[in-house]
């Protein structure tokens, strides 16, 4: 039984990353009908920015310029990095996607891939191929709860991710901008005619998605403190799968699908030999999509005007 619960804890942590990153894919896809394939790399950039911000704050704090408690360093790192990374997202939108807004969707998808490669190799040039160790923001303490080992990091990661998801949900539901986003997701040909500024909303969507990716990047750095320029590729792909599985533009869908994927991966490895993990895990997901092609909370395209 402890074995089972231990894996639940493992899956919750692992699913948090998928869920946070999937939200960025899902929002952009929902509102602009665009696969932002650079998102996994924005996650990587977020992790690196977080690493830089954390190093600066820790140095300032330890050299006595401004002495801050540990939790405040963590909170500041997350907030500042989210803020900075949102500009990366807006820049990507401005340079890579806005000029192609009327181009065929495939062109825009390819742009995303190219921006991704530019971000990866740019990072390689800037910082070199050396692995970077993420500074330890949280002093790890392990709790043994009846044989199940939980660290304070794991709790923090799950709590922060769920908190961010709830905040996003409230934003989309309760604010004027959120309403504009929802309207745009419903129909982005007519809604701009009603006076909703499409460029502002597009920028904002990218900014929010990237900020969430940055948060995911920092949490990832805390859990797996070795950063490399290609860390975003596989996680990005899998989060993309989660976004599709959740249904187009659905926040709840992306969150649930992200956690579901975490659970499937961990539990497949628990039951079957771990060599078969991805094979079995993604066959299960393929099967789900065969029966629910629009994901959990998506609607058929025919309900919409545009493809």
């Amino acid at each position: 039984m402890t074995f089972f619960f231990q894996n639940v804890v493992n899956a919750l942590q692992w699913g948090s990353f998928y869920a946070l990153i999937a939200l960025g894919y899902s929002m952009v896809y929902g509102i602009l009908m665009l696969f932002n394939f650079a998102h996994g790399d924005i996650f990587m950039v977020g992790a690196y920015i977080g690493c830089g911000v954390a190093t600066v704050i820790i140095t300032l704090s330890s050299s006595g310029v401004i002495v801050l408690p540990h939790w405040l360093i963590l909170v500041l790192t997350i907030l500042i990095s989210m803020f900075l990374t949102s500009f990366v997202g807006m820049l990507v939108e401005r340079i890579g996607y806005r000029p192609l807004r009327d181009a065929p969707r495939a062109s825009a998808a390819i742009t995303g891939l190219m921006i991704g490669i530019i971000l990866e190799t740019g990072n390689l040039l800037l910082l070199g191929a050396q692995r970077i160790k993420f500074p330890s923001l949280v002093h790890s303490t392990t709790y043994n709860i009846g044989g199940v080992f939980v660290t304070n990091k794991k709790i923090m990661i799950v709590v922060v991710s769920i908190g961010l998801m709830l905040a996003l949900d409230q934003f989309v539901r309760r604010t004027k901008y959120g309403m504009a986003m929802r309207a745009m997701a419903f129909d982005y040909v007519v809604v701009p005619l009603m006076g909703v500024p499409i460029n502002t909303i597009a920028s904002m969507t990218f900014a929010i998605g990237s900020a969430l990716a940055a948060a995911a990047g920092i949490l990832f750095g805390i859990a797996y403190p070795v950063l490399d320029p290609y860390m975003g590729i596989i996680v990005g792909w899998k989060a993309f799968v989660a976004a599709i599985l959740g249904g187009r533009g659905s926040i709840l869908g992306a969150t649930l699908a992200g956690f579901l994927m975490g659970f499937i991966e961990i539990f497949v490895a628990m039951v079957f030999p771990s060599t078969l993990r991805d094979l079995i895990a993604y066959s299960i997901i393929l099967l789900i999509l065969v029966f629910r092609p629009h994901g959990f909370f998506g609607e058929p395209y025919s309900a919409r005007l545009r493809l």
Binding site: Q13, G128, A129, Q130, K154, V226, M231, S274
Partner: protein, 390 residues
């Protein structure tokens, strides 16, 4: 007019492409280095490059490489294989066909050395991999050599060491199924362990794929299996994650590794979590003597850190290359003939005293040499613990 311009431009380009070759002249010996400068294990590439540059420095100090009664200039052509199999193949092909190198040193990791060795062998170009321990690299390839011991030797070394040192009976293994080196070594270890303790004594044999960062479900399984220690033949970047996650999941038993651990980066990434762990490797930097110490001191002074085993093995491999070229006796300028001559000379070397120990060579081009068990001290240094000879 336009056509003429295009024609002129392409002629110009062609000239650019071919000039370096014609510049090479006959008094230059080119040695290709195929190293992972970027990608998963950049520190390995850096060590290779630095060791090679230091070696070249020595050659230049003597005015060149003396073959027979003629002195040749030596030129290194360093290619990045991005730590990918396909890029290593590309790099080797380029070195052989475009740069027309005499010998290739590298690639380092078996994942790249196995496919790249195929290319070198097909083009009949001698290649020596300093660090690739998988048997497939040199097997049935007369043109491919190596500078280190093999995994079928390293597997039993670790199994015997753990049995004698700790008296354990139940082992767990965690390895990357998508990479030749960890996969090969994991299997050799499993076989050696089961020969010692009977079938079923490897109670958990878990795997993951390259680029995975989360090993929690595999480690949870390993902890549940009741294993007494964990063997993980991974590269340094993954070791840091595996060891840390294992400790966070409540694992406090020994974790043992292989020669891929021995990088200067390991302690930087892993920190205190790795203190007190053991791994088998080619040489130990702390407590070295003689030529080995000389090399370490020089490297440290020049580049600011203690060289890892890759740098030392690259140094030795280049030494073997030098010996082979000199034993060959004559460079004719006909690259195919010269390559054949160097390969024959290399195959004839029976004994070589290197900084990673004395080696003798088998028919397959594999050296027989001792392995070293290293303990990571409480200061994060790689301390010599024990020497295991075949």
């Amino acid at each position: 007019m336009r056509k003429l311009l295009v024609l002129l431009l392409s002629i110009g380009l062609l000239c650019l492409v071919f000039t370096p070759v014609s510049w090479g002249g006959k008094n230059v010996i080119k040695i290709g280095i195929n190293a992972p400068l970027t990608g998963d294990i950049p520190k390995v590439g850096e060590g290779t490059k630095y060791a090679a540059e230091m070696w070249l420095e020595d050659i230049n100090k003597e005015g060149g490489l003396k073959v027979g009664d003629k002195v040749y200039k030596v030129e290194l052509v360093i290619e990045d294989n991005e730590s990918k199999a396909e890029s290593a193949v590309k790099a080797n092909t380029k070195l052989i066909t475009e740069d027309e190198v005499l010998v290739i040193v590298g690639p380092q990791a078996s994942k790249q050395a196995i496919p790249a060795g195929e290319v070198a062998n097909n083009y009949k170009t001698p290649m020596i991999s300093p660090w690739s321990t998988n048997p497939a690299t040199t097997k049935d390839r007369p043109y491919v050599f190596r500078g280190c011991f093999l995994d079928p030797f390293q597997g039993p070394v670790i199994a015997n060491f753990v049995t004698k040192e700790f008296g354990f009976k139940k082992a767990a293994v965690l390895y990357d199924v998508a990479s030749d080196y960890p996969k090969g070594l994991a299997e050799f270890f499993k076989k050696a362990w089961e020969d010692l303790h009977g079938p079923g004594s490897v109670v958990a044999f878990e795997s993951f794929t390259t680029k995975d960062a989360d090993f929690s479900s595999q480690l949870t399984k390993i902890i549940k299996s009741g294993a007494e220690f964990l063997f993980t033949p991974q590269y340094y970047n993954e070791v840091a994650l595996i060891v840390q996650q294992a400790h966070e999941l409540g694992w406090n038993k020994p974790i043992v590794g292989s020669d891929s651990w021995g990088s200067a980066e390991l302690i930087k990434l892993c920190g205190k979590d790795c203190y007190g762990l053991f791994f088998s490797t080619h040489y130990a930097s702390a407590g070295a003597k003689g030529k080995t110490k000389e090399f370490i001191d020089r490297y440290k002074k020049k580049y600011g850190y203690v060289p890892d085993d890759v740098a030392a093995l690259t140094w030795d491999s280049l030494g073997i290359v030098k010996t082979a070229i000199q034993n060959c006796g004559k460079i004719t300028g006909n690259i195919e003939k010269d390559r054949q001559c160097v390969r024959d000379a290399m195959a004839k070397i029976k004994e070589y005293k290197g900084i990673t120990g004395d080696m003798t060579f088998t028919e397959d081009g594999d050296p027989i040499k001792c392995a070293v068990i290293v303990k990571i001290s409480d200061k994060g240094e790689f301390e010599f613990y024990k020497s295991v000879c075949p």
